[in-house]
Structures are given as structure tokens and as C-alpha cells.
Subunit: 93 residues, 4 copies
């Protein structure tokens, strides 16, 4: 089972995803696009990557904004799976 | 310009979308699916319908749950556009 | 490496996917929907499943029609991966 | 009703979409991406644009390749709708 990261591990891991912050105990990033088409195209690519990794985001979309929060529910906290998904999402931008 | 509905108009319109409620001043409904694939397939169909109507949802997805809030930002409230989109979304279920 | 199925294996496997035929050496099925929105929603769900299986269809869409051909290029023929993907696609209908 | 373009009109219009050719009486272009995720993300954005324009492509996808053919069936040939969709697709690349 995937374990919740310690604060020390998390601080170290955040170096790999400098555009993400911790918000309400979740790995958080907001993206803004030119329009809905581009925002939803981005979401579709994330959906494919997430399904492949079998680890899915909590996310919210309002027109051209996409807000993503990553947490591993089974571990009740942020795990390496969230860091991996964040890295994968960043590579899609 | 689309006008915010009066309370009386809204009560009347809600008859057409009985599964929706008013929450935080927005037209609200939550959907649950068997898995992420079905949830995101549903979202894609809504995205297509919304783009065609040029009226987009505020929505949130967590794995197999899709939560939708409809409001017309230009009118600072719920308009007939939101009712129309709610009806269109219901027809996709 | 996944091996191309023998004719005997293939005949046996086709029992599991009775709506599919062999056409030009590929596992073939055509789907028809009410409109483009439903056709593309179906395609999105297949895309998610295919990405997860790391095995992708050859497919064509014209408005409300979706035509799918399955083959395993590495094996230069139909393999169990194609049968599995066909079964997964059938489960989405 | 949208009319089929004359050869002269078509030659003139093709200047706007220099990466498209005429193939089998349809406006044709092939796109190649790094992987399936990017190819399908592109398709999703096209799907949204097409649904909004109410004019849809004939298209085919094989892993990271997307082949598009545009024709207006009602007019039995290429019309300005196809040119407009081609321009919109080019703007997504």
C-alpha cells in the first residue's frame, strides 16, 4: 500500500513540482487557458494519463480555468502517486 | 442580454428540472457513475453540448462523482440559459 | 511478446465477441449512435480504456458512426490483446 | 443551403489552408503527435469546435496519427464550411 509522505519527504518531493502548493492538505495547482476548448482538451489528456496511472485528480473547471487537487484517499494524505501525477500533468502543459 | 430569473420564474422553471436544486445561488446537481471512465465520458458529452450552447458549467469531478453548478456570470444569477443547459445535461444521463 | 492467434484460437475467441467480424485481417465492428455527441462520448470512454490497456484501436468516425478495427501491429495480426479490447469496448455500449 | 465550391473558388480558398490537399474529392490533412494522449487531446478539441460549428469531420486515428477528411455531404462536395473547419483545426495545432 502507498504510504502518506512525511513532511520531510513532501518538502523534498515538492522540488520536482515547483508550481504546485499544499492547500487543505492536498497538492494544488491552477491552470488558465485561452478558452474552454483548450481547457477541456487539457483535461482530456490528464484523464487519459490518470486512468493509465490508476490515480485520479480531484478537479474543478470553470470555463477556461482548471483547478487540480491531488490526494491519495487510501492513505489519507499526499503520496508519491500524487507527485507522479503532478509531474505527468506538468509535462502536458 | 440574458436576465437573471425572478424567484417566481425560477420556481416555475425548476419544474422542468426536478433533480436540480438551488445551492449557493446556483443550479446544482450531483451525478454518480460506476467508475471514472463513465464519469469522464459523461463530462465529455456535456462539454460538447455546452460548447455548442456557448454556455458552460462550473463543475467538479472526483473519480466517479460529477458535481455541476450552473450560473450565468454576466447576469450574476440563474437564467434561462442555465435551465436549458440543465435540461440538456439531464437528457444525456 | 504477444503472439498472433492461430485461426483455430481466433475462431474460439470470436465466440466471446459475437458482434465482431474479421475484415482485412482485423477484428472489426461498426457502431451507430443518435448523434455526434453520443458517438464522441463513446470514443472518449474507449480512449480511456485503451490507454489503460496500452493497446489502441484503429478507428474512424463520421458524425454518428464509429468504425473500429483491432490488430496488434507488433504481432502483425490479431492477438488476445485485441480480443480483450473488443470485450472492453462491448462492455461500454 | 451551402453550395459546393467551384474549382476556381476552391483553388482560391486553399491559399488559406496551405497544409491541406484535395484527396478523393475531400479536403485532407494528416497530423502526427508524440503519442496517443496528445493525438486524442487534439481530437477532443476538434470535436468541441466541430460541434459548435455544427460541421463535423470524417476522421481516422491510429495511435499517434490523426487523418482528417472534410466534405459537406449535403452539398456533395467541399464548401466554405469545410474551409472554415480546416482553418479552425489549423488554429488548434
Amino acid at each position: 500500500m502507498t504510504m502518506k509522505m512525511t513532511l520531510h519527504e513532501l518538502e523534498h518531493a515538492l522540488v520536482s513540482v515547483p508550481d504546485w502548493t499544499i492547500k487543505n492538505g492536498k497538492l494544488h495547482r491552477q491552470f488558465s487557458f485561452g478558452n474552454f476548448v483548450d481547457a477541456f482538451g487539457f483535461m482530456t489528456r490528464i484523464a487519459l494519463v490518470a486512468e493509465r496511472m490508476d490515480h485520479h485528480p480531484e478537479w474543478r473547471n470553470v470555463y477556461r480555468m482548471v483547478t487540480i487537487d491531488l490526494i491519495t484517499h487510501d492513505a489519507d494524505g499526499i503520496t508519491y502517486k500524487d507527485i507522479e501525477l503532478a509531474i505527468a500533468i506538468d509535462s502536458l502543459v
